[in-house]
Amino acid sequence: MSVNTIKCECGHINHEGTVLCEACGKPIKGNQHLDGNDDQRVLEMRYDGSARRSKTYKRTFIDKTWAFFSSVKVGVWLIVITLIFSALGTIYPQEPFKNSPLPASQFYETEYGLTGKIFYQLGFHNMYDSWWYIILVAMIGISLVICSLDRYIPLRRALKNQKIKRHPTFVKRQRVVSSTDKLSDENYQTIKERLKKKRYKIKEEDGHLFAEKNRFSRWGPYVNHIGLIVILTAAILRMFDVMHVDDYVWVREGETRVIPGTNQEYYIKNENFSYDFFDAEEDEDIRFREALKNANGPIPKDFQTDAIIYKVKGETVIGEEPELEEIKRGQIRVNHPIQFDGYSLYQAGNQMDSEYDQISFKINGENDQELGKFTFDTDEAPYQIELDNGMIVRVDDYYPQLEFTDKGPSSFSKFPRNPGIIFSVLNEGEEEGDRFFYLGEDIISLSDESTLTMSVTDIEKRSASGLTVKKDYSLPFFLIGAIIFMIGVVQGLYWYHRRIWIHPTENEYLVGSHTNKNWFGMKKELDEIFEGTEFNEFKDQSELK
């Protein structure tokens, strides 16, 4: 990174921009302003006075960009701005949640008036995938990377190069210090024992002592930042369609359908769709009677699709029915998706009794004696049905979803949601007979002088189950990122990097101590270690400032 170097009087060669010599800790003249600790009594120990690129080079555009993104202040501002915009986006529902047939351009204004209009015009109705929100999050990501590199590399070097023997200034100007004129060997050994008991790693050289523990906690912030970067990278990956399948399928009871998003490889059969609501009449739910009475509508207890998953066997030939092989059978319920070959199917929607499956009729003659009965199956939709007594019921017209237009009756769709059927009832050999129109679950006779009556005896409806189809290759990355983040946070927050130096000079012993946080605990620990020895009471020099 740098070509210029600074040689300290201890002989160590430091990078340009170093504030405290990496080896002995002596403040490097002329660089003190970099950490803003010019005439302070206490050394600014942040990042151990190492040479940070952002503080050293401020000439080129790249330097300036680097310095910008490595600043904690900028990072915090980015967080705060993201926070505020995220909050603004929740004032009104986002477009996908607006739950209205109106287009967004009308919805917000009609529903919320002027403020809604402004919300829409500012583009807040699609905030979280708008380009500027993504840029904001991306900037946080860049800040995470640069911030971490700018600090981690020099800090690691400084902690690696630190020597046991420090410069007296370095020890004296630590925040919490003490000193003594004399120190008996016995007490020196006691201090060492106590340090060991407190899990300090002790190194000695020429009467100098250096005790250190929990250096790894210094890496906590960088580890958690890596976790976040992994998560953001996963989010970028997820933007590519190949990374995930996201589809929806409606399957009627008894129906077998290809599962979308699976390259026509998998089929699902809905064997049965069942649902259950809480019922205050039932023993099991009687404890909820009060809540059920007050509820606005029935409260769903369970929705369940009994499904069979098939895989296509061999090559599919276009236009031919594929050969299917059952690979899985099970139930799909909310909170319990069915999984196969990396795909998951979630119970997401239901169309309860939305379609007519079978409608049964009977035909009565004069004096109400029954002539015959038959069942119309909406899937088969036969052209004619022969009754036991030889009569024929001809289906003249069938409208699965009946509606009336200017041109008369027609069908809105091919799904039997509101079937209308026109029948002709013929005796054997006849061409014309009495006509009946089945609509709205009722029968209208179309022939004026009919001696026959037709009536509906039974209606069987069927439900459709709505399933979301998901496959997501990015999930493991998110999970790994989250785990790394948690490890980093715990590592950084619950351990403290503590160092203690005992430095003999010609006429006294100095003690300097440093911790990256929790001075409260550090002071307590120092008191315990040095208790009963010749050392004076520890002094917090930051209070003197």
Binding site: R46, D285, R287, A291, V334, A348, M486
Partner: protein, 395 residues
């Protein structure tokens, strides 16, 4: 007595025990720390808090037995569980720091929360299908505990501000502190009003025409603000005749707005009375009372609470939440308002940690941030559930 009644009685008992405990904690105010620690009053206060806590836990268990699922599935239950966690966190802090004076702030907050929660329907509710998962136990309990621990940082922050804000002259800081006091008083006003009018079975009904039919909206507080384009059906009830502004949408919005106005007005009256009685800013009055508090310890508690609460919140509010969302809805993140506000909470405390650890924001700055953090948590709990609808508005 069935489980439900036992549970309700136990909750009332614990509520009153907490109230008595506050009195004991209040009695130690103004004493030096050493005296406080030795004082019998402190011991009694703590013992009472523990008894109250045990009663509340027992009440929770009975309710669990009644409902057949962990009672954290509606507004009443969540707030009730949250207040229980707050007491737990307070006791924990007490046994680590032996700093009982926190109780004088923590307990009243827990009491107000229990009161506020009890305004919502208290009957046991069935679990809708999407909540029927073991993740309900894991996700909701971790979030409640994390938020309670984060609230302890608010308790510490408030204590810090009461002690450290200069009350000799009026300043922005004293005004904001008064604002916090006013909010607390308004919440108390809301609870008291709801229970008083509830006890009197007050109900004013409005008819709101909708598609040629009438929609009935019932008010449990006298109507200062009625629903837009509506008519008072129970004409013998009080009504100012002022209608809610039309931008307040939804049938319930006007009723909630009415309650809000009531709370703020009654809060204003209560606050004014307090000012008259003490002849000082409430903050100044409290500062006198609190006097001898070591701000360094309080600041340390504040930080420690966030250092524990933040990772726990990340785990419960984001990671567990995402895993459950993936299992229930097939997407781990969907920008649902509750999710966004969990992210906002997380971002806020992340910013807090950066400011404190990298930029040295200690003391008062930290304390104000802790107050804002609590405001965000309360916003997510109350406003997001009641005003901004989304997948989480089960209450």
């Amino acid at each position: 007595m069935d489980f439900y009644e036992i549970s309700s009685s136990l909750l009332s008992i614990s509520f009153f025990i907490y109230l008595i405990a506050v009195v004991f904690f209040g009695a130690i105010l103004g004493k030096k720390r050493d005296e406080r620690q030795k004082s019998k009053l402190t011991t009694i206060g703590i013992i009472l808090t523990i008894i109250g806590f045990i009663a509340q836990v027992a009440s929770f268990i009975f309710r669990w037995m009644e409902a057949g699922h962990i009672p954290v599935s509606n507004m009443f239950e969540f707030i009730y569980f949250f207040s229980m966690c707050l007491i737990f966190a307070f006791l924990l802090i007490h046994f680590i720091y032996r700093y009982s004076i926190m109780g004088i702030v923590a307990l009243p907050i827990a009491i107000v929360l229990i009161g506020y929660g009890s305004v919502f329907p208290t009957e046991v509710t069935p679990l809708v299908d999407s909540l029927q998962s073991n993740w309900l136990y894991i996700h909701v309990t971790t979030v409640a505990l994390a938020q309670a621990i984060l609230s302890i940082s608010f308790v510490a922050g408030l204590l810090y501000l009461i002690v450290k804000v200069n009350q000799e002259v009026r300043s922005k800081e004293t005004s904001y502190l008064e604002l916090i006091m006013y909010f607390v008083v308004s919440v108390i006003a809301f609870v008291v009003l709801s229970f008083s009018f509830g006890a009197a079975d007050y109900e004013a009904v409005f008819n709101l025409p909708e598609n040629g039919d009438y929609n009935e909206i019932s008010y449990t507080l006298p109507a200062l603000i009625g629903p837009t384009d509506s008519e008072l059906a129970t004409t013998d009830h009080f009504y100012t005749g002022i209608e809610a502004p039309s931008f307040l949408n939804g049938a319930e919005a006007a009723r909630k707005f009415n309650s809000l106005i009531w709370s703020l007005l009654t809060g204003l009256v209560l606050y004014g009375l307090l000012r008259l009685l003490t002849r000082k800013r409430i903050g100044a009055y409290l500062q006198n009372k609190f006097g001898k508090v070591n701000p360094d310890v309080v600041d340390d508690i504040l930080y420690r609470a966030i250092a524990i609460g933040f990772p726990l919140f990340t785990l419960g509010g984001l990671i567990f939440a995402a895993i459950w969302a993936q299992e229930a809805w097939g997407r781990f993140w969907g920008w649902d308002p509750k999710e966004v506000w969990a992210l906002i909470t997380w971002l806020f405390y992340a910013a807090f940690l950066h400011l404190r650890l990298a930029r040295g924001w200690h003391g008062k700055k930290s304390a104000w941030l802790a107050v804002i953090g609590f405001a965000i948590i309360m916003f997510n709990l109350i406003v997001v559930n009641l005003v901004i609808s989304g997948l989480h508005s089960y209450a």
